[in-house]
Amino acid sequence: MNSLEFSLLVWLGGVAAGFLGSLTGLGGGIVIVPFLALWLGVDIRYAIGASLISIIATSSGAAAVYVKEGYTNFRIGMFLEIATTVGAMAGAFLAAEVSPSAIAVVFGVVLLYSAYQSNRPRPERPENAAPDPVATFLKMDSSYPTVHGPQSYRVSNVPGGFSLMFVAGTLSGLLGIGSGAVKVLAMDQVMRIPFKVSTTTSTFMIGVTAAASAGVYLSRGYIDPVLAMPVMLGVLAGSMIGARILARAETRILRIVFSLVILALGADLIYNGLTGRI
């Protein structure tokens, strides 16, 4: 397989990953690393470098749209980025210290968790919790557009969400993923932020988080231009197509199928990591 054929294959894989990732909300980065490492035999560090690049592109592109729609709470985003960027640096430095096998195992576990998290039911919560002093000081309480007009919300447990965001950042830097599943867990479950605000703010934060670790990866020589090029262009194209048809697509079955794929990839990565094949 020469460079032209290889690039084409990686590009097609990127389109598929970006397409499914944006349709299901799980993100394209989460399958790019297993695709490159398990199927194409790419060293996992190169795969992670290329994946980081692609998630900066897709999250920035998506955030550009969301931020204008008024769902994104950029104060919450900015504040929590302290935790995710510091975590991302820690993860990126950690990536050089631990063995590729260990990275594969951790990656597998995160995949299993993401599949679970995206399929669990989201219980309704009581409206209008008591004002939280930290959230009030940081001007986090806000409102978001609904069909019935602006709906206000309050934010709680900022320290809890902040700590979890550090974990999300570390995983992002270590694995080259957006760790949207952990970010949404922190905002939606711990800080009690409405789901739509949580997901769009998570997307908004992913670009900066990934940029923090991408800088470290670049300087380490983990970002190969010839590999990153088709990955970035493919995932970007795929996620743009996915976002176009998202509004009228029935995503429930697709989400289940994609979750099963992620479960299989997670198990495969854990197996390969434990047996030392990666």
Binding site: N2, S3, Y46, S60, F74, K139, L227, L233
Partner: protein
């Protein structure tokens, strides 16, 4: 002067992000097309991790390679533009919060900016780019493995 409401700030941020991604993608596409045009028939090998040459790691080296129209340098420069896109968004937010006289968030955004810049600037300290060296034209399995390692 119009006031810097949150809505207006968000509008500028959206535009900034969109054009950053478009510009970076076009740069990567141009470099990629040039690379595959001249090196498309070489055999790539990513099974063995070798790391990129110093010319393609540090900002100074990448800019020089891109200026000399090395396809690999152009792709890497596009990737650098992409990394700079969310960074530009944070930098703009610092200014916006300052105009809103929101001191807490000026400090918050400055901190985030410093962390990301620290990650990027480390390359300057741990990689010295010799001025006479240039990046290889094609990356292939038969190229001699670089002598340096992390």
């Amino acid at each position: 002067m119009r006031e810097w409401s949150d809505d207006r700030v968000q509008g500028v941020i959206g535009t900034l992000l969109r054009w950053g991604v478009i510009f970076a993608a076009l740069m990567v596409l141009a470099g990629g097309a040039m690379y595959l045009g001249s090196c498309g028939s070489t055999i790539p090998d990513y099974r063995v991790f070798r790391g990129e040459p110093p010319e393609l790691r540090a900002v100074t080296g990448i800019v020089r390679e891109a200026a000399s129209l090395n396809p690999l340098g152009l792709i890497q420069f596009g990737l650098l533009l992409l990394i700079a896109t969310p960074l530009a968004r944070v930098a703009f937010s610092v200014v916006a919060f300052a105009l809103q006289r929101d001191r807490t968030y000026v400090v918050v955004t400055l901190f985030v900016l410093a962390v990301v810049l620290f990650g990027l600037s480390r390359e300057g300290s741990n990689t010295v780019v010799p001025p006479e060296r240039f990046a290889p034209m094609c990356i292939s399995s038969d190229a001699p493995p670089p002598s340096f390692h992390r």
